[in-house]
Amino acid sequence: MFSAVYALWHREVLRFLKDRSRVFSSVGQPLIFWALFAGALSKSFTPGGVDSYGEYFFPGTIAMIVLFTAIFSTITVIEDRKEGFLQGVLVAPVPRWAIALGKILGTSTLAMLHGLVFFAFAPIAGVPIDAGSAVAAFGVLALMAFALSALGFTLAWLMDSSAGYHGIMMVFLMPMLLLSGAFFPADGAHPVMGVLMAIDPLTYAVAALRYAFYGAGHATTEGLPSQALSMSVTVGFAVVMFALGTAVVLRRTARDAQ
């Protein structure tokens, strides 16, 4: 069973490394995003507690990297189903939760690696980083990667086409990112937005990331949910998403035989 989880994890990482365009774009794309936003908004918008928008947007970019990696990596579940690879996995003597775990761990690993690469740009963005804060941030990164991979896996498992998945991405996952405090803080936003941001579990993951870099009591973490709450919700998010991912895989339906 563990060899099956290992095989699925290994396959995910290997497929990524073999695809050079994916390696390049996954590092390049968030960097370009970050540089464009930081450059464009540097004069017009700088939230409190940071020196530049680039600094504010830095933890948000990590969330974005993780979300995008999770999406593009779990979308392969749909390909696997279409191309028949999944059938081969479903007839193996592997408990179905192990299938979910292997795929989610593989995706999480990729998302974590991408996030970690981006840590190197922290000094350029003006984000204080040292061994301690890097380790703390990495912990949050890992949780966030696991939760979003599990979410992506769940959605992909339920979808019949990658076009459908793109739809879900635009109406559900993108707003989730936009409302997470990655791009702008809750305090300047419309009260309705404030409510939506409070519901968004990603808000707490992004907040936890800010706490990891700046610690509690810093001006930039003012107005955020408390550090304890942020961490608890992020852990809970990961657990609930994994439970959901397992639950959808456990349902044996005629669809598996398509």
Binding site: S3, A7, L14, G84, F85, G88, V89, A254, D256, A257
Partner: protein
């Protein structure tokens, strides 16, 4: 432990309102090569998916390798090798990598797995191409990789869904040569091709979710009386009726041809031409094929391109 590899009783399955299998009973002997012949929609693919544990068995009982399919599917999977019609391979990865993952799915690992992969590569004559990416392979080679993967964990029962589909005649022969070298494994396959069905030691013919024939291919062909006489005629219905009356034979019209199954079709030709020669355009005599068996049991042609 039972003698048979598969023992099925009253197996039925419906997709919503559509009944795919209507309560079938059959046995598959251990160590045999058993085929299920039928056109698309006959229920053979549904049967395959039930046996492969992809579809849940809800009606009827099936004992497979002594295990209850409904309740012991997880245990059973360890003993099954499943080869799908569309290969369950990762096309972006190499042959060897696919086999390694396949073995790991069945709990193999370490040196034992590498050794087993080497053996199967050798067996499937793929050793020198083991690092080729699957997407670069021909359909025949892919099927061979798939077979090697399905047999890595030394299954007791090998399930094959339409094993020859998409293969050219040469690759089909290779496939069956490969399968015949098998080691102590029961092979159960589905097909809609009568040529392929000939490879079975025993055959079960399915039509619209029910079994319409069972036996060795030779027995089945014998069951329709030695020879088949087909007559092309301007008005086949009248001719069939006249012939039945005049010669006491069972003449039927199938696809606008008058058809007589008889142990002595040869002897029938002369008197037939004497009495009704004016109404006959052409007469052909042939040994019955499995397609004739299907036709005789169902009144329909087994469409080869289905």
């Amino acid at each position: 432990m039972t003698e048979s590899a598969v023992h099925a009783k009253g197996v039925a399955f419906s997709y919503g309102d559509r009944e795919a299998l209507r309560g079938i009973d059959f046995e598959v002997e251990r160590g045999s090569v058993h085929g299920f012949l039928g056109p698309n929609g006959s229920g053979k693919s549904t049967l395959f998916k039930l046996l492969a544990t992809i579809l849940p068995l809800s009606r009827g009982t099936m004992k497979v390798l002594g295990l209850d399919l409904a309740t012991q599917a997880a245990l059973l999977r360890e003993k099954l090798g499943v080869v799908f019609q569309s290969p369950a391979l990762d096309k972006k990865l190499s042959i060897r990598r696919n086999l390694v993952y396949g073995g790991q799915m069945f709990g193999l690992g370490g040196a034992a797995l590498q050794k087993r992969v080497d053996e199967m590569l050798e067996y499937a004559d793929l050793s020198d191409r083991q690092n080729d990416v699957v997407s670069d392979l021909s359909g025949g080679l892919r099927r061979r990789v798939e077979l090697a993967k399905g047999m890595l964990h030394e299954p007791e029962l090998l399930l094959l869904d339409e094993p020859s589909t998409g293969l050219d005649p040469g690759a089909r022969d290779d496939l069956w040569t490969f399968l015949r070298q098998r080691e102590n494994v029961t092979v159960l396959f589905t097909t809609h091709l009568m040529d392929e069905a000939e490879h079975a030691a025993r055959l079960t013919i399915l039509h619209e979710g029910a079994i319409v024939g069972e036996g060795t291919p030779a027995e089945l062909k014998q069951s329709i009386g030695g020879e088949v006489l087909e007559i092309t005629a301007p008005s086949p219905d009248t001719l069939a009726a006249d012939l039945s009356k005049a010669h006491g034979v069972d003449a039927r019209v199938v696809d606008k041809l008058v058809r007589i199954e008889s142990s002595d079709a040869h002897g029938l030709v002369a008197p037939l031409m004497q009495s009704h020669g004016d109404h006959v355009d052409r007469v052909t005599i042939s040994r019955p094929s499995l397609a004739d068996v299907f036709l005789s049991r169902t009144g329909r042609r087994l469409s080869e391109d289905a």
